[in-house]
Symmetry: C2
Subunit: 503 residues, 2 copies
């Protein structure tokens, strides 16, 4: 058997196990009876352990070495070359982290997550602080397993954004921060738009039916996926042919079911579009979480909160909810669903403010890692940065530094991917307009196939063949660049708030 | 680490993998989008392969050997002694069958199953015959991997009924056959009961609600289980704390949803009742498929089709379906749902005729194995036996020898467990009456807790600690014995058909 076939045979099994673990985790969120939690935990832990053992086996190491020595003789950009490179990169990372450390970290974050949940309930940062100290110490030790780079945080970013550097993120944020802060000040100085029509009762069944029709229209393939309800919405891909999305209904935010489902559909379309040939390999994943988020954000915001989108869908929504929306004009509705309102809570924030929530967190993560910020200083730092970026200050840590689960589960390096997603989404949106000058007319007539087809061709099918910077460069002709997102925000929100385009 | 702890640690992982495969198979039947079939197949195949590799590893062999050499010093009947014995039995069996043979058989039955489905559609036994020839040849080779016993079929029985012998089954059938044939002749000579009330339209939603209420009343623990719809009803236990049952609605047989769900609940109550300490070991299974079937049959038939059961539930069913049942008396209803009607199709057959369908099949399996019956003779033999046992003859092979999937998937040895289940269920039912002389009054007032409690204590909790014969002996004081079932049938059905008890 040639080395590549040997490698593929070994990795197929690893991916099958990862898929199985993903499906079991989906089941846990969606259909598992409460008593099943411990059994589920055992199953998933065993499967993930075996997947790790099989991936880090000598057999994989030898197959990789042989494959690299032989070369695949079909060029640097070939699927096979990329397959070997991506697998080697992950193999090298997996081997560097000792099993003892993984077990120690698993125990620490399990305790930290419970402590965080209790601390948030009581808004008591002090109760969480020692756990977070421990998590940060673990993250530093984790970084120590890797060759020293320019910045220790580079190692953490790589887990979510392969090859992305702290310097690149810093540079990006340096451009975004002042322009977004200025835009928000400009908008909040204007009279607020009215979204009173959202504060009524909407039937969940009707909203779900409408949302599923939208999801169908934008191209979700129901023969290769399904939709269910869960406490927290998510999308999970068990290969491209079984992609599952979930939604929830929140009484006081009736449209969040729709936008949440469009968001998850954006993720799902990416997963459904990955080349079937990659399905049982490490190329069968997204390029990065940032690129993944660019797909969910593009469909949720650039498409789903756009005026052309509602030109097409608003009559149907009005028909579904005549008593709530019969007297609300399309213009009124459009402005209402695009209300900009600096809030304390990241997950409730709008397009114009979201990145600032992210920057504040990522800056803190970087500071915690390089020692320029201490855990005990976080609550005060949080308050001052919120004042500086968004002009609002949390009265309690529960609505401040304790609001997100990420740090308690050790997910340092994750937050940046949300902003990368926003930024990339606007670059893609602008590039698509270049290729399809009738973009807005397509959306206005409910013709989403050309856009999906373009994303399939340019992004989805490649899976993890290219890194985020590479794929953005290939599609847009430039590296990840904040300008299109800033221009998109300014061009969209100034008119909504009655400000002249020039500012 | 002592050998037993070592053994348990290794087996825990194997059971986790088996549980995961079961849950994935549940998902496949219940929620998987159609496109996911191939991905599901890969996942389940990989997990089952790894479970087999881990189970047959040298590490398990050494731990077993050490555990047997050391003894567990807590007696022959202890959980630990039984754990080692059951694990050693399965380990020995798993090692005897070469991986090449398993792969060859998997391919052959996959082809045979497709051929069977097509042959059944066209009622063309000839198209299936070469595949069945091959399956029988494989079964003979399979038997050859084991030490020669009294009868080659003993090896096949052991896969479903550990330690049960062909001689025991022969003896049992020898008693059942003439008495059941005679009873059916006696009943069918009498005027048929009327079940016209079943041939009306019943709403699926109302029937499901009623059935779920019944399931709750008899003791299904919804915090450790759930119910969904599937094409073929089944129950699957992912350990005692996550047990899932399914049902289906058949327009022309409205009550089959109810009786099917009670049947699956009988299986589920067994699974939910197995001692939690056994959950991640090989003792965390049923004693045998026959004992499993005794639980489903007991709840479906001895409880669910009894007069006391409907004394309690009939008013609620009438209330649910007033237009269909308002004018049907309880007596009329009871007789209607217990109509005896020799039919061509096993899965549609009633309590009084079911065993005869089974005997016919098991006799053929035994004959195919020992060479006294040839595959090509099956259709004719089927017709003559059906005439002899049930007085009906199939006009086509589709409604005759081709009706069941079992042979095409190589499940030789399985059919006997249905009749063992019927027989054991009546033994337990009689023993319960001995311990609870007010049994019928309990049922009549809807008090199912004492029965469930008795089954939990005497059967469920022990999992696979005892063999079928052992557990029946412990509970009833005798080995598996057909008399109580025959007495139950005669005592129940003669009055329904207006025959004096004496016959």
């Amino acid at each position: 058997m040639n080395p590549l076939t040997r490698l593929n045979t070994l990795i197929n099994e690893v991916v099958d196990l990862q898929h199985a673990a993903s499906l079991l985790e989906w089941d846990e969120q969606v259909y598992m009876p409460p008593g099943g939690a411990s059994t589920h935990g055992d199953m998933v832990a065993t499967i993930r352990k075996i997947a790790h053992e099989k991936f880090t086996s000598d057999a994989v190491g030898r197959a990789l070495e042989d494959a690299r020595r032989n070369g695949t003789s079909d060029g640097d950009e070939s699927d096979n070359e990329k397959l070997v490179a991506v697998t080697a990169h992950e193999y090298d990372k997996a081997l560097r982290v000792p099993a003892d450390f993984v077990a120690e970290q698993a125990q620490a974050v399990s305790a930290a997550q419970h402590a965080w949940a209790a601390a948030r309930r009581q808004s008591d940062f002090g109760a969480f602080q020692p756990h977070l100290d421990q998590v940060v110490a673990l993250k530093r030790r984790y970084v120590g397993f890797f060759p020293p780079g320019v910045h220790p945080y580079d190692v953490l970013l790589d887990d979510f954004e392969p090859s992305m550097t702290t310097a690149e993120v810093h540079e990006l944020f340096g451009v975004l921060r002042p322009r977004q802060v200025a835009l928000i000040r400009e908008l909040t100085a204007r009279p607020q738009v009215d979204d009173g029509f959202l504060h009524q009762s909407y039937a969940e069944a009707g909203m779900t039916e409408f949302a599923r029709n939208v999801v169908t229209a934008i191209g979700f393939d129901w023969t290769r996926g399904r939709q269910d309800r869960s406490v927290h919405p998510f999308a999970t891909g068990i290969g491209p042919n079984d992609v599952r999305i979930t939604t929830r209904f929140v009484e006081r935010e009736p449209l969040s079911l729709l936008f949440g489902l469009i968001h998850e559909t954006g993720h799902a379309l990416y997963e459904q579009g990955i080349a079937p040939a990659f399905a049982r390999s490490l190329l069968g994943n997204a390029a990065s979480l940032g690129v993944h988020e660019s797909q969910s954000r593009l469909w949720e915001n650039l498409v789903g909160r756009s005026r052309p989108f509602w030109d097409f869908f608003y009559p149907a929504l009005q028909q579904q909810f005549p008593s709530q929306l019969g007297d609300v004009s399309l213009d009124h509705f459009y402005r209402g669903i695009n209300k900009v309102n600096p809030t304390l809570i990241r997950v409730e924030s709008d397009e114009a403010t979201y990145n600032l929530h992210i920057m504040l967190r990522v800056e803190m993560e970087i500071g915690l890692l390089d020692g320029t910020i201490r855990v005990e200083d976080l609550p005060e730092l949080w308050r001052s940065r919120m004042q500086e970026y968004l002009g609002v200050v949390p009265a309690t840590d529960a609505t401040g530094v304790l609001q997100d689960i990420h740090w308690s589960i050790g997910a340092f390096g994750y937050f940046a991917t949300y902003t990368l997603g926003n930024v990339i989404s606007a670059q893609l949106w602008a590039s698509y307009l270049g290729a399809h000058p009738d973009r807005d007319d397509q959306i206005r007539r409910g013709d989403f196939a050309p856009l999906l087809d373009w994303l399939r061709t340019n992004i989805h099918q490649h899976g993890r063949k290219y890194k985020a910077q590479e794929i953005v460069q290939r599609v847009t002709g430039s590296r990840i660049d904040p300008q299109p997102y800033l221009e998109y925000l300014e061009r969209k929100y100034r008119p909504i708030y009655g400000i002249d385009r020039a500012g």
